[in-house]
Point group: C2
Chain length 230, copies 2
């Protein structure tokens, strides 16, 4: 194998270093404005957009929410999320399989949102279980989603993304019986990769499990506000 | 945004160029040996391994088959595929989100398979709808899998991978009703991205649609053998 790996690694390191600096600056701005920022990662088709739409719709009566959504192509997800009536901005990444902090910074600027007017900002990453793991976006909480249709072994096969996330959400639980999902095995695999990880089991379709999750978000916002001077 | 993109692009180009050379050499070897090589790409959890296990089991009574399977971590897939009793070799990619031709070359050498003794070689790529698209593996046919649980819009959101593939396979059709899969919309989206693309709709669980697909593979092998001197 003669591909010039060492040079690629060096260039990647520079990009990651720049990304970390931008992410750190973003995090300081977000905290200063008292907005709690949540990013969502998962493989394509695990229900990120449906889950996020449900999240935005559920939070909106009590909180000021907005969302950024990343995709290689199309504005489909922004259109879907706009049904929640929350402000939404699409980020088109072209061929890039992840969001970077600079894209978040640019999108927030272009959207002309006043961060002080927000309680929650959600960032839906490109559907990918590999690329997004190394890129800090300045978020307070990273959620990795796993649908019951994907199989219980995904945490073992994609350990890095599960390690880089703070919380796991098992989606599409209404289909669990149809696909013979082994919930215990999935939970065991998550804990094997990231011991102590908090896990929510939900169905955006039936609403099952959403209350606990929404309460968790509300509590995290309270904690953020109590440690920063807004 | 100050990340050193031009340099990264240049390094990527070198890697791709090297990959193309290795892939070309592999293709020449595969053709010379009369083995028909099929690669499978899809997002994580769309049923590649189950579909491939079914393919190997179905072909084995009449053909000599083998499989390489790529994953970031774990040998789970190789273990599952070994149940088909076909020779299988796992490729662990570490943090890399795709297979490269050099990895295929190395795995074939390590497996010590005599290519002349094979009819079909299958290569299951890492679960990813972005990274694998640019890497030629020397295959004769690239199949992109899309499960009914992932949603009909995936071809529009990941056009590059659909463009780089020769055939699309819609998997898990036994779940189509449960997830209200809109088959017409999915087919329309595939054709929008890659007009004329051949599509198989299958269920590895019930066996639906598999006959057409297996017949297609057999025909492609016959064509390959008729154009090469084995």
């Amino acid at each position: 194998m003669t591909s010039p790996e060492p040079r690629l690694v060096e260039v990647r390191k520079n990009i990651l270093k720049q990304n970390d600096l931008t992410a750190r600056a973003l995090r300081t701005r977000f905290r200063g404005a008292g907005v709690f920022v949540v990013s969502l990662v998962s493989s394509p088709g695990s229900g990120k957009t449906t889950f996020l739409e449900k999240t935005l719709t559920s939070l909106r009566p009590r909180y000021r929410v907005a969302a950024l959504v990343g995709d290689l192509a199309t504005e489909n997800d922004a259109t879907r999320l706009a049904r929640s009536q929350a402000p939404v901005k699409q980020i088109i990444t072209g061929t890039l399989c992840h969001l970077e902090a600079a894209m978040v910074e640019k999108a927030v600027a272009e959207a002309e949102w006043n961060l002080n007017d927000l309680d929650f900002l959600f960032i839906e990453n490109v559907g990918n279980l590999v690329c997004p793991s190394s890129y800090d976006l300045g978020e307070d909480l990273r959620m990795v989603l796993l649908s019951v249709t994907e199989g219980e072994d995904k945490p073992l096969k994609y350990p890095t993304i599960f390690n880089s996330a703070d919380v796991a959400v098992i989606t599409k639980n209404d289909l669990a019986a149809a696909v013979e999902f082994d919930s215990k095995a999935a939970l065991r695999n998550i804990q094997a990769v990231r011991p102590g990880m908090k896990v929510f089991q939900v169905s955006a379709k039936t609403g099952a499990g959403l209350d606990d999750y929404l309460q968790f978000l509300a509590q995290r916002l309270t904690e953020l506000r109590s440690t920063t001077s807004v």
